[in-house]
Amino acid sequence: MKKSQTRPIDAIYLALIYLFFYLPIAVLIVYSFNNSSYSLVWHGFTTNWYHSLFSDSGLWIAALHSLIIGVLAATFATIIGTLAAVSLYRYRFMGKGLLNGMIFILIVTPDIVMGISLLLLFSILNMPLGFWSLLLAHITFCIPFVVVTVYSRISGMDKNIFEAAKDLGARELTIFTKITVPLLLPAIISGILLCFTLSFDDVMISYFVSGPGFEILPLKIYSMARLGVKPELNALCSVTFILTLLLVVLSQKLTRKES
């Protein structure tokens, strides 16, 4: 079979797949420039929606909140998750098997279950819903993803490397900072980015654990969309999409350089 020759049917099939994936996003971006409030008919090009978007201070504050939660949640989840993954790989301790299983259970737990159970926890603890409850919730649901990402990288490494370091007189802290972290860096970076995107677009869990005093972007968009999809919303989603795309490209570049 020749590989270089592409049959027309292959090309069509491929085109259909890409259309299925990206047509909705393309439509969204195109309509964010449509000079009409409600119509789906093209009324000419405008950047008005972007102007009104950037002058809407409520949205800006929500976006800023999401950014803060995203960065903090990603940072803490990555630190905790990396430590957990390294411990799971390197040490034998009580309840290791249980911990391993629990992490996978957390990944497959439906968001709604997680959201309600966290809400329950916070109300039992008498904790006000707002910044802290959101942050804790986001750290919680991000950790398992970091553990899985980092663990898959560390388990592919030669176990003798750690023994060699120990043999040469390295203390545990030296092994961690000089050997483990540098070798895991690509996985740690992708862990951070993964957490940030998970946190940034989470609606379900945030819906349960956020309060009126601290609004975040996905929930704001959700409540705006319930009143009908406005062109500002199209503009907002387009901006978010472009930012995410940049993040993905950045992470790809970083990890490629590392390996």
Binding site: A165, D167, L168
Partner: protein, 365 residues
């Protein structure tokens, strides 16, 4: 090599999950010797090595390193370093940083680190490779970095866990020689683990043959090859023809056994009684093969036909079926008497071996 003991293993056993991996090992290793632990995979040789290095603790027994009981001592406090089979180099560090790692961990001042790293790299002929990353080196060079990284710390003992097994044949031969030379130059005790009997014979001062968790023989390469202590050693090291027979009579301290229809007489070294079962072992290279027209007196020879032959460049290996049905392996070297060594399948040949070159062992089990 001196008579000073550097490592002493006393009654050491090890079990994992109630399975005995090592059973009551006693072994004394002298300062400056090249000692090889030889055995098939799963015989416990690597476990023994890991207990000397401190990665495993014995279930029973004690290990003394330089006269001190090593019980509970972590690997880096034992003055013993390991070269791993996978090399285990730190892939994100340069060759120099890899070699300097142990020195820096032990707080050696930086102005002393540099000359010592350079010296170690020079010793393994990699002085110009200090700035490279391990991935930019060949397998043999990575191997040498691993050795430099260990010897730079001036250990009493260097432990090498099948370090050559992932190299190709030619490189392995070169590295064997280099390791031997390095060991002589450094005067450090090398404990070398391998399953390759040829490697063990060609490199070691002494070979420790292991099988199923016990030491079956300790001796010089010549001793373990020429005077194997038991059948498993004889079988593991080199090829061997085994004849099972009975002691038919004993006269003047000499036993007579019948081998494939012909009587042979040997000194009675194993206190045989008449009727005891005995094993007679003959190495293929000790068997001499003659064409039918080469010999006149065939009274002390076996007749057979060539079943198979393999040309190996320096030798020709034959499989000869005797009249009794027994198949013998033989190895013939090219020399001035016999420079052709041409055989055809089914050809009739005569063969014998020099009386006294056999190994006689009591029957096991």
């Amino acid at each position: 090599m001196s008579d000073k003991t550097v490592v002493e293993i006393k009654g050491v056993s090890k079990s994992f999950n109630d399975q005995d991996v090592l059973k009551c090992i006693d072994l004394t290793i002298k300062h400056g010797e090249f000692l090889t632990l030889l055995g098939p995979s799963g015989c416990g040789k690597t476990t023994l090595l890991r207990m000397i290095s401190g990665f495993e603790e014995p279930t029973n027994g004690d290990i003394y390193i330089d006269g001190k009981n090593a019980k509970g001592l972590p690997p880096h406090e034992r003055h013993v370093h390991t070269v791993f089979q996978s090399y285990a180099l730190f892939p994100h560090m340069t060759v120099s940083d890899n070699v300097a790692f142990g020195l820096r961990c032990n707080g050696i001042p930086e102005n002393e680190v540099k000359p010592r790293v350079e010296e170690a790299l020079r010793m393994v002929k990699l002085e110009n490779f200090g700035n490279r990353k391990p991935a930019q080196l060949s397998g043999g060079q990575q191997q040498r970095v691993a050795i430099a990284r260990a010897v730079v710390n001036r250990p009493l003992v260097l432990l090498l866990d099948e370090p050559l097994s992932s190299l190709d044949y030619r490189l392995r031969k070169t590295m064997q020689m280099e390791l031997r030379q390095l060991q002589r130059k450094l005067g450090i005790t090398f404990i070398f683990v391998t399953h390759d009997q040829e490697e063990a014979l060609s490199m070691s001062d002494r070979v420790v043959v292991m099988s199923e968790g016990v030491i079956t023989q300790i001796g010089t390469p010549r001793q373990v090859y020429e005077e194997p202590a038991c059948l498993s050693v004889a079988k593991f090291i080199g090829e061997v023809n085994i004849f099972e027979t009975n002691v038919s009579s004993i006269t003047d301290g000499k036993i007579t056994v019948n081998i494939e229809g012909m009587p042979h007489t040997y000194p009675n070294k194993h206190n045989f009684s008449v009727g005891d079962k005995a094993l007679v072992l003959v190495r293929p290279e000790d068997v001499r093969v003659y064409d039918s027209n080469e010999v006149t007196d065939t009274s002390n020879m076996y007749r057979g036909i060539v079943e198979d032959f393999t040309y190996k460049g320096t030798t020709v290996d034959l499989m000869v079926r005797l009249d009794s049905g027994k198949v013998l392996a033989t190895t013939e070297f090219f020399d001035e008497d016999d420079d052709s060594l041409v055989y055809t399948l089914g050809e009739k040949v005569w063969l014998h071996w020099v009386n006294g070159w056999e190994v006689i062992l009591p029957h096991e089990g």
